[in-house]
Structures are given as structure tokens and as C-alpha cells.
Amino acid sequence: MIGLYHPGSSIVHRTPTLLKLLLLSVGVTAVGLLGQPRQLLVALGVVFVLYIVAGIPPRPAWEQIGPILWILVIVVPLQALFAGWTTAGMMAGRLVVAVAMAALFTLTTTVTAVLEGFQALLHPFRRWIDADRVGLLVALTLRCIPLVAEIVAEVLEARRARGTQGSLLALAVPVVVRSLYAADAIGEALVARGLDD
């Protein structure tokens, strides 16, 4: 979601966000219920076709789906040990298809569209919930992930430079302090950008 959007004008890109979310939920549930390897292959084929229709190149697709394969390398043999290779293979297949579907949503939907989707979902509850604030909360959460990751990376580097690699305290304290300072600065910038309008 954090900058993974792959621009395009395909039907997958143009499908309304809430409809995409609904189809994703239905799709993931359906894949979880599939009992036959043949059915799973059909599902995999459908997702593959959707990637082609959306014009997603292999690299960004692999960046999303690839990491799950490393988990499967460990989980599948364990599952096979207790439940057999067929069950383990089905589990792995279901997981790959589900992750591929979720990644397709991420690759074809902007954060703004997701926020607007959230706001539309919350519209009936506007008397009790400020949809704009919830949308902003989600956006800021997504924005802060790379920011905190950057802080952690800098602190780790500083920790190495000072020869205090083993100390958890030397990591936690500066990360928390710098994150709080960053949160304060972002709050100030939000006010300056008219958030309290």
C-alpha cells in the first residue's frame, strides 16, 4: 500500500474501490473453501489473467508475492509432516492465490481511493464517526511506517558506529524519542497545512 501503486487505466484500475474490496473478500473466502487442486489451479489462472489485464509487469508482482514463498519453504514441509503433502500443497496454493489477489488490489488502487472508500463506507455512521479523521488516520499510519523504519535504520547505524550493538536500550530509547519528536513535528505541519479548517 505504501507507494506500491502501479499506475494504469485498465478495468481493474477503474473498478470502484469498494467493489474491488468486496470482490477481494469474496475471492479470498472462496479460495479458502476450495477443496480440489484442480479448482485451485483454475483460481490461480483467473488471478494470472487479472494481472495481465491490469498490465502489472512481473517484477512488481514478484515483489509482492515472492516473500510469501520463503515462508512456505518452512511451513509446507512442517504441514506435510503432520497432514500429508496434498494438504500442505493445497494450503500453500490457497495462500499464494490469496496473497496474489490482495497484492493486485494494492497494485491497482491508490491510497486516496482507499481513503475515499473508507469514507464512503463510514458515511452512514457520520453522526458518530468523523470519516475524514478516520481517513487521515489511515493515511498517516501508512505514511509513518517508512518514517519510523528510517529512524530505526539511522539509530541502528549510530549504534554500530558507537559500538553498542548489543544494547536493546540503545535502540529503543532513541527510536521512541525521535518518533515522538517526529510525531510532534508532523502534528505541527498538519496544523500549518490547514487540518483544523
Binding site: 505504501i2 507507494g3 486516496t112 493515511a139 517526529a182 505541519a189 497545512r193 490547514g194 487540518l195 483544523d196
Partner: protein, 226 residues
């Protein structure tokens, strides 16, 4: 240009006085504010769009008391921070610029049109859908400028906008600030940034130590530092 006044403005953080009885009447096009670290210059410019409210005295922008009309004043005053990372709110470049406009009640088409124009002006069109956090430092500061200027403020306040940048990017941001049609107020330690400015205010230990033409002001500032 808009008239900004500081009338007997003081500010303290706890028992530490950072500004004392500041009296200024600013209406020039390009105004520089210089001073040593901790002199109170950042606190001073933050008062222009109500990020900080004076402990004593009044700040007005175009006749409006900032403390009482902060929302209205902020629509006229754009603020650029030292670290653009703290100013970027949305995950992608385009969305961050659009964020400013989405809160102004414009239609989706108007937001898209003005966002595209702002990205084009600052050479960021090619990065529109890129993650904002992956931009270089200079590009991030350009994004911060685009996100502020897309709202068409009458005044742009920049608090040390080139401090974290390399020489080339600092020059680019400096040129952009200098060429703006808006009234510009820049806090800086980089004195060459103030070439061609109309007025420079030197702040020292919370007071106005010098106020006048850039050449004389910068001489006075260098003397203070010596």
C-alpha cells in the same frame, strides 16, 4: 504585499523568555530573518500563521489578529519546515499535493488539475505516483513547496528550508523562493540566500538586534557572531 505586524510580542517556554517585546511592521516582498541557534527566530515566524501564540502582545496578518483568526490566517500563510519529511502527510507525491486541496472543498477535477499544474511547475510530474519517502532530500523540499503553493497562499514562510540540502538543491530552492510572486519570509543561516531580499531582521537573544537593508543587516549579524 500583505502587512504583518508584531505589536509588543513576547513569548516564553516555561520560565525561559525566547522573545521580548518585538515590534515589527513587515510589508516588503522578500524578508529575511537571521539569528543564532536559540535566538527565537523560528518562534517569531511560527507566530505568523498561529503555530505559536504569543504569551504577550499581538500578531496581525492583513489586519487579522492571528491568535483569534488562526484558521483564516493559515489560508493566507503557507509554511515550509526545515525537514520536509515532517511535512509530507500522504504516501505518494501526487496524493500529498492533492491533500492540501482536498480539504478546501474543491471538486475532484479541480483538485486533479491544480495538482498536476503544481507538480509540473516543480518538476515532479515524473514522480507523481512515486512513494514520497523515496524522493531525494531536494525533491522532498520541492514537494513541500508544491504542497504549500498549490493552495495559492499570499505569504510563504520558510523556516531554514535549505539547511538539510546539498549546495545544488539549496540553490534551486533559494532561486524558487526568490522568484515567487508571493510575499516571502525566510529564516536562514545561509546568508547568501538573502541576496536580493528587501529587508533583513536580525534576532539576538529574543530581541530585534538589527532591522534594515540586507547588506547592513548582514554586516551587523556578522559582527554579532564575531
Amino acid at each position: 504585499m500583505t502587512r504583518i505586524t508584531f505589536d509588543g510580542v513576547s513569548h516564553s517556554y516555561g520560565d525561559r523568555n525566547v522573545l521580548r517585546d518585538i515590534r515589527l511592521d513587515l510589508s516588503e516582498h522578500r524578508i529575511g530573518v537571521v539569528g543564532a541557534n536559540g535566538s527565537g527566530k523560528s518562534t517569531l515566524v511560527r507566530m505568523i500563521n498561529g503555530l505559536i501564540t504569543p504569551t504577550r502582545g499581538t500578531v496581525t496578518v492583513d489586519g487579522l489578529n492571528v491568535a483569534r483568526n488562526a484558521r483564516e490566517v493559515r489560508r493566507q500563510v503557507g509554511f515550509i519546515f526545515t525537514n520536509p519529511d515532517n511535512q509530507i502527510v500522504m504516501p505518494t507525491v501526487q496524493e500529498d499535493v492533492a491533500f492540501t486541496l482536498r480539504r478546501r472543498g474543491l471538486s475532484r477535477e479541480q483538485v486533479a488539475e491544480r495538482t498536476a499544474a503544481a507538480l509540473d511547475r516543480f518538476g515532479l510530474s515524473a514522480h507523481a505516483d512515486h512513494p514520497a519517502h523515496r524522493l531525494s532530500g531536494g525533491q522532498k523540499q520541492l514537494l513541500a513547496l508544491a504542497a504549500v503553493l498549490v493552495a495559492e497562499p499570499k505569504i510563504v514562510v520558510a523556516d531554514e528550508p535549505t539547511t538539510l540540502l546539498d549546495a545544488r538543491n539549496a540553490r534551486r530552492i533559494t532561486d524558487l523562493l526568490r522568484e515567487m510572486s508571493q510575499q516571502v519570509i525566510v529564516v536562514t543561516h545561509q546568508l547568501d540566500l538573502l541576496a536580493g531580499f528587501d529587508r533583513v531582521v536580525v534576532i539576538e537573544e529574543g530581541e530585534v538586534a538589527f532591522d534594515g537593508a540586507p547588506d547592513s543587516a548582514l554586516d551587523a549579524y556578522r559582527e554579532l557572531l564575531a
